[in-house]
């Protein structure tokens, strides 16, 4: 087998996102939040035939439901928050087969969480596309106490689990579905720089 080519910069473990592109498939699963719904609509406009095979899950994006219905989505589920996503997706995966292509759009946290669930259900990584839309907020895991924090927007941030000040790394784990946070003042306890906003 030939070796995989190396990815371009930035660091290799930083997730890479791209505009959603249509693919031939047996069935499609689409998940989006408020910011990502527009990406699904754009995809539907590019490839109307895709929607007839698509199950769509909208997370806190009820206002976009009618437009996606109108584009012919085969199924449409809604949840009001990311907490409700996991059971909705598990239901849809229940009768899924190889040939399923997945399209994710929205915040990194939503993408990371859903991708992690899909991978543990056996969906191959190559079948998942993700387009980042919306905030630069990150899903973070504290390397010291392993607590996962949603929607982290500042660097450094305070771990909700152990209270340490953590700096935000670009190192990302698909399995955990989060970036890594490491104690910023370990060598100089108490010396914490002022937080800055995380940028995309």
């Amino acid at each position: 087998m030939s070796a995989t080519p190396p990815p371009p910069a930035p660091i290799a473990s930083r997730p890479r996102y791209a505009r959603l592109q249509t693919r031939r498939c047996g069935a499609a699963l689409m998940v989006a939040d408020k910011s990502g719904a527009a990406a699904l609509l754009a995809l539907a406009d590019d490839a109307p035939e895709l929607m007839s095979k698509a199950s769509v899950v909208l997370c806190d994006a009820a206002e976009h439901a009618p437009a996606l219905q109108a584009r012919g989505a085969a199924r449409l589920l809604q949840t009001s928050s990311t907490a409700g996503l996991s059971p909705a997706i598990a239901t849809l995966l229940g009768d899924a087969r190889m040939g399923l292509q997945v399209f994710l759009a929205g915040a990194e946290g939503l993408i990371a969480q859903v991708q992690s669930q899909l991978l543990s259900a056996g969906v191959p990584l190559g079948a998942i596309q993700a387009e980042h839309r919306g905030t630069a907020a990150r899903r973070m895991q504290c390397v010291h106490c392993k607590t996962v924090a949603e929607d982290v927007t500042v660097d450094p941030y305070i771990c909700p689990g152990c209270g340490r000040s953590l700096y935000v790394r670009d190192h990302f784990s698909r399995r955990v579905g989060a970036f890594q946070g490491v104690c910023i003042d370990a060598e100089t306890p108490g010396e914490v720089p002022e937080s800055v906003e995380i940028r995309i």
Binding site: G26, A121, V123, A127
Partner: protein, 309 residues
């Protein structure tokens, strides 16, 4: 390479013969993983041939290695040598087991599709799958039923498709019915592999779940000249000879491993190229193709190729 004794030779079907090799002193052979192949060296008169053959025996059975060879009357001569000249009792040089077609151990199910002699790597994987308790489905396409005559126990669950009897594999149906996490493995003719992979892609299977093994026999072509800068020699590569074989015949050192364009070991720098290189490998990156060549499978057309050997 190790010296092994050919201990058994028996036909499995009109065109396929099974060969068994054991250690001359009965020592155990190294264990391997299903899908591995070995190089078999054949001294055919003045010509030294090396062909890769999948191991068909149980990977954990150290008492011997077995291969199955299909006789190709119009091939380069390796299979004819094995069928006509290799006899039990002979000592032969056999390379270490190398696996470029292993099972994906994280897969939830393995879909195995074989055509003709392409069943060979799967034969070694069947006991492995049984030991792992893994879910799998084996589809085997042959032209005529007599091709199956004495093949080692295929499980009852094998789906047979005998094209001479009008039964063809319904790829669409098979590929649409697999659970998430299934990996597909195909081994057979180039055309079968292409058909299976194209169908899978069209149905939405991503590339990371598709695995194919096809031993690239070096393609024949017009003879050409190659200058070996380091050795200060210019060689002529014959029409049925690979560049690697020409280097070896001239005593020029060139590393190799799979001899099928897949492993990268024989990667060679091109110092100058007055003509066109025909790359037949699966190894080089596109941007490397201007300045490198895989001598085990690739050829050249033009005035002169100069390589760093």
């Amino acid at each position: 390479m190790q010296t092994l004794k050919l201990t058994r030779k028996e036909p499995l079907s009109p065109r396929i013969t099974r060969f068994r090799f054991e250690h001359p002193e009965g020592a155990p052979l190294p264990v391997f993983s299903g899908g591995a192949h070995v190089m078999v060296e054949m001294q055919d008169g003045p010509v030294l041939r090396r062909n890769a053959y999948s191991l068909i025996s149980d990977p954990l059975d150290c008492s011997g290695y077995e291969i199955a060879v299909q006789r190709e009357d119009h091939g380069r001569g390796g299979s004819l040598f094995m069928h006509r000249d290799a006899q039990p009792g002979m000592l032969m040089q056999i390379g270490p087991a190398v696996n470029l077609f292993s099972l994906n151990l994280a897969a939830r199910k393995h879909l195995l599709i074989a055509g003709g002699v392409g069943i060979t790597p799967f034969l070694a994987q069947l006991p492995e799958l049984a030991r792992l308790g893994a879910a799998y489905e084996l589809h085997y396409a042959v032209r005529a039923r007599d091709e199956l005559a004495a093949l080692p126990m295929l499980p009852d669950t094998t789906r047979l498709h005998v094209s001479g009897e009008g039964s063809r594999m319904d790829l669409d149906a098979i590929l649409s019915a697999q659970p998430l996490g299934t990996h597909l493995y195909v081994c057979g003719s180039a055309r079968m592999i292409e058909t299976v992979l194209d169908t899978a892609a069209a149905l939405g299977w991503p590339g990371d779940t598709l695995h194919a093994e096809e031993f690239l026999a070096p393609a024949p072509g017009e003879p050409f000249e190659v200058a070996c800068a380091r050795s200060n020699r210019t060689l002529t590569v014959g029409p049925h000879q690979s560049m690697l074989e020409a280097l070896e015949a001239a005593g020029i050192d060139a590393p190799w491993l799979c001899r099928g364009g897949a492993c990268g070991q024989c990667e060679t720098d091109v110092l100058s190229c007055d003509g066109t290189i025909d790359h037949h490998d699966h190894w080089l990156e596109p941007e490397e193709r201007k300045r490198k060549i895989m001598p085990c499978v690739s050829r050249f057309r033009g005035r002169l190729l100069t390589i760093d050997r």
